[in-house]
Amino acid sequence: MNGETHPVVTLEKLTKKFVTDEIETHALSDVDLEILRGDYVSIAGPSGCGKSTLLSIIGLLDTPTQGSYTLNGRPVADLSVAERARIRNREIGFIFQSFNLIGDLSVFENVELPLTYRGMTPSERKQRVARALDDVGMSHRAKHLPSQLSGGQQQRVAVARAMAGEPSLLLADEPTGNLDSKSGESVMDLMHRIHDNGATICIVTHDPRYARHAQRSINLFDGRIVDAGLAAVV
């Protein structure tokens, strides 16, 4: 961080339409959004308002129907499938509501997976994984399978996996949705700490308690941003 704030994500007039049985549904309409480096943005809104779709598009898991998306100054519209995969691997970290750890891999191997796709050497991978697990307090469970962990622990591992590759953007989709309040708080504290260390975070949540963790909150309704304001730093 050099004090100069560059936009990590820039969305302009972003629209996403789904067509099912000749019925057109507008998941997102004319969304304009800028996420600066070091931002901590929460996206809130009722169920079906397009929060997850927006996050998927930002995370390059989906493509918009119209509008432009620039990630770290680079338009992503014309990227090939392989280039999108490469950017996902290097620039973006995901945290899902249902953790999405791979059940057949150990905690260590789960965290190691994105680094493997990056072609990193085993020794470097080992270092990074150890550090990431240490950061989330899960080093002692490195050899366990996800099924042997509690929900909160699984989400911590998921956070470690997302952070191990040191992405420029961390996307979290309802990260506390499957957790009890204590575990949820603990994960949010962890996110807060990660942000304090300089990470750019975009989190989808409809829980106002967790939305307050963010610097900026965006409300979506029927696919449109209806309110955007600066939130107080917690």
């Binding site: 998927s56 499938v81 490469r86 899902f96 509501q97 057949d104 493997t116 796709y117 996996r161 949705g177």
Partner: protein, 812 residues
């Protein structure tokens, strides 16, 4: 490479974790890979390996063919003319297969398969002896001292591998012969031969039968840079010239030149083996379809995992690679199990083909080529069944699978379409396989139940003897010997009845041209009938009663010229008449002896099969006393109905024959039932194999159909719950599930029936008295497949009706 190792480790973990899926997949694939490896090994040995000589693809076999077209050997006169004239095949050799009896060396007389072969035969195949020498052109001339080269087996078994066997005198076919060499192990060219004698030693009584006597097997090596076509062209010209010079014996005869192996593999052998290869390829395709379906069903479980991997930056290729590593590992494990199954299959086939006269170089075992095929098939199967599901899963909709409660990627319409297509493929291939197996087994059953014309085959022994040409020079010598054998056999108490004959039932016969006194028979050529010469007790021994007339007696062939015809001959040439008392003439196509006499028909016998059993109608046959068969060969058959223990009768019989001629061994002793079993072996062995493969396919298809239907129930559980909540009856729920399965089944059956017609046409030459689209067979197999398939679908569809609506509604 490190990444691959990671993929391998993960794949191993997945396969162990999903052990039931792994077990099902390994079983299906092992059967498919094992069957393919086993059958390819057989195909490789029979059709691909070729002769075990250098430049074997230049070795050709020659013969003669008439316009019908029937194939013949070559006369020694034609052979000599060819040898002098040919430019395209500078080294020609002639061989005459013979059973050679070894005696006079202080050991029991023994009969061996041998050959009289020109000295040029050895250079053609490039063979060398392990000890001693081979005979040369100098040994292979009239008047040269008789020599013999023996096989390694004779050297080992008869002479205890004694090197001093060289120079030893032995009586072979009543001729004093010196052993000059021993062949290497497993060298038995050209007729599984155990002993080789110069062609010049062939008794004059055989050689001098004239240009019309075509008994030599001729082979040679094409000259360098000469093509098969060029050789054919030259020999066509040569045979035309000989036909012009010798029209009596050579008219309308053309020389044939073909690769040696093509001559050996004549008839339906190639078709059978390639059909079998096709059958097992189908089995493998069915197995792969099955496993692909299992993988598709697993797509539901794997979709979220794949989604996570993609979200973490895995490329599509990386995902496909990961899944392919899993499938290839699965196929390799299956391959190892399949390899063990293949070895069992090869051993079984080898045991089944012992004693059926397969060429000596065909040893059924895996060689590097077969092993490469095995490895290739294992790897390819993994890619074949793994690629489609891998590509499918890698296209998973990430938004759907990654969000909480999102639908898994496995239940899409795309998955259902793929699964449906795979089921249709399985049903189609299975029906085609069942049709092939059905046709083969029905042919076997026709043969098994076929009335060969011998009402009681129990306690009926057949055995062969061979009258050496030097000792039994004239036809009269042979007739006299057989008469004495007939007389001596009657005196053995252990024997109920016995006879000599030129051929046993189903053992062929000599072709003769038929003439009927006072009648011109229709057609351009005289019709051909089968001639059997027999002793007076022939029909008694077989337990056959004549339809009309009388049996042959000792007086027949002596004071009167008599013949018994079978019913088929009577029906064909004396329709609506009583042939008894009419006269017929039976002449050789290319006469080698004096003109034959008119024979009076003295009886009509029921039809006894002699030749091609695949034909619906039996052939016309004439039975004559030995004396009325001037061209009678040196071989004869003894047919013996024993009173009780066949072994006791055989021992007594040997004694009696030895009493007539001490050098005359009996060989190929077996019951008529065993003899008939040998006739049927091709149908039995190949029928069993086709059936086994078809049953495997049936089971795999049933399992596949079951799995897809069961999976469909799982996928539609929530929908079923909704329907039930809305008041759907169990019947309509069941129909909901069954409808899709039955549609797939109907499409598969339609395509399969079309394929079955094709299989019938393909196997046409192998079918015994059944049409190519045999309605009973097709109806039966369609019914079997239908019943099995419906049963496979019914089970999961019934399960659907028993679902608890509340649970089903909560199901995700």
């Amino acid at each position: 490479m490190r990444d691959i190792w990671q993929d391998v480790r993960f794949a191993a973990r997945v396969l162990v974790k999903r052990r039931w899926y792994t077990l099902a997949a390994v079983t299906a694939l092992a059967l498919g890979i094992g069957a393919n490896t086993a059958v390819f090994t057989l195909v490789n040995v029979v059709l691909l390996q070729g002769l075990p000589f250098e430049g074997a693809d230049r070795i050709v076999a020659l013969g003669m063919q008439d316009l019908r077209p029937r194939n013949f050997g070559v006369s020694s006169q034609d052979f000599d003319d060819w040898r002098r004239a040919t430019r395209t095949i500078p080294t020609l050799s002639a061989a005459f297969g013979a059973n050679l009896s070894f005696s006079g060396d202080d050991r029991a007389p023994e009969q061996y398969t041998g050959v009289y072969m020109s000295a040029t035969g050895f250079p053609i195949i490039g063979s060398k002896p392990v000890i001693g020498r081979l005979y040369t052109a100098d040994d292979d001339r009239a008047g040269a001292p008789a020599v013999v080269v023996i096989s390694n087996d004779i050297w080992k078994n008869r002479y205890g591998s004694d090197p001093s066997v060289l120079g030893r005198k032995v009586r072979v076919q009543a001729l004093d012969v010196t052993i000059i060499g021993v062949m290497p192990p497993n060298m038995k060219f050209p007729f599984n031969s155990e002993a080789w004698m110069p062609l010049a030693q062939l008794p004059p009584a055989v050689v001098n039968l004239g240009r019309g006597n075509r008994q030599l097997f001729v082979f040679g090596r094409l000259a360098d840079s000469v093509t098969l076509e060029q050789a054919r062209s030259e020999f066509t010209t040569l045979s035309r010239e000989l036909a012009r010079q010798y029209p009596t014996t050579n008219k309308d005869l053309t020389a044939t030149v073909q690769l040696f192996l093509d001559r050996i593999l004549g008839g339906p052998i190639k078709l059978l083996f390639w059909s079998l290869m096709g059958a097992v390829a189908f089995v493998l395709l069915i197995a792969c379809s099955n496993v692909a379906n299992l993988l598709l069903a697993q797509a539901a479980d794997r979709a979220r995992e794949i989604g996570v991997r993609v979200s973490l930056g895995a490329t599509r290729w990386r995902i496909v690679r990961q899944l392919l590593v899993e499938s290839v590992m699965l196929s390799l494990v299956s391959g190892l199990v399949g390899l063990a199954l293949a070895q069992l299959g090869i051993k079984w086939f080898d045991a089944q083909t012992q004693g059926v006269g397969k060429p000596y170089w065909m040893v059924f075992q895996m060689d590097p080529r077969a092993f490469s095929f095995f490895v290739g098939v294992s790897l390819l199967s993994g890619i074949l069944f793994g690629l489609m599901p891998a590509l499918h899963i890698s296209k998973t909709n990430l938004n759907e699978v990654l969000k909480e409660g999102g639908r898994s990627g496995g239940g899409s319409a795309r998955t259902r379409r793929w699964a449906g297509a795979l089921v249709v493929t399985q049903v189609t291939l299975t029906l085609v396989l069942l049709a092939g197996a059905g046709f083969m087994m029905r042919s076997f059953m026709v043969l098994y139940r076929m009335d060969f014309g011998v009402p009681d085959t129990s306690r009926l022994l057949t055995m062969q003897l061979l009258m050496p040409a030097r000792k039994y020079v004239t036809s009269a010598d042979r007739v006299a010997f057989l008469k004495r054998v007939d007389e001596r056999m009657s005196s053995i108490s252990a024997i109920e009845s016995a006879t000599t004959a030129s051929n046993a039932p189903v053992g062929g016969g000599a072709p003769r041209l038929l003439g009927v006194e006072g009648r011109t028979l229709p057609g351009e050529r005289a019709p051909s009938v089968t001639l059997i010469s027999a002793g007076p007790h022939y029909f008694d021994t077989l337990g056959v009663h004549l339809i009309r007339g009388r049996l042959l007696t000792d007086a027949d062939g002596v004071s009167q010229h008599s013949v018994i015809v079978n019913r088929r001959l009577a029906d064909m040439y004396f329709p609506g008449e009583n042939p008894v008392g009419r006269r017929i003439k039976l002449t050789e196509e290319f006469p080698t002896g004096p003109q034959t006499d008119w024979l009076t028909v003295v009886g009509v016998a029921p039809n006894i099969r002699q030749g091609d059993v695949t034909k619906v109608d039996p052939e016309p046959i004439a039975y004559v006393p030995h004396a009325e068969s001037p061209g009678m060969g040196r071989g004869a058959i003894l047919l013996v109905r024993t009173r009780s223990d066949p072994a006791k009768a055989t021992a007594a019989l040997r004694e009696e024959i030895r009493a007539i001629d001490a050098d005359m061994p009996l060989f190929n002793i077996r019951t008529l039932d065993e003899f008939l079993a040998q006739v049927r072996w091709v149908y039995r062995v190949f029928g069993v194999m086709f059936t086994a493969f078809a049953l495997i396919a049936l089971v795999l298809s049933a399992v596949g159909l079951y799995a897809v239907t069961a999976y469909s129930v799982t996928q539609r559980t929530q929908e079923i719950g909704v329907r039930m909540a809305l008041g759907a009856e169990p019947g309509s729920i069941q129909w909901l599930i069954l409808r899709r399965a039955l549609t797939q089944l109907a499409i598969g059956l339609t395509l399969g029936v079309a394929g079955a017609f094709g299989v019938g046409r393909l196997l046409r030459s192998m079918l015994v008295q059944i049409p190519t689209a045999d309605p009973p067979t097709l109806t039966a197999i369609v019914a079997v497949l239908l019943v099995v398939a419906i049963a496979a679908c019914l089970w999961p569809s019934r399960r659907a009706t028993r679902l608890d609506p509340v649970t089903a509604l909560r199901y995700e």
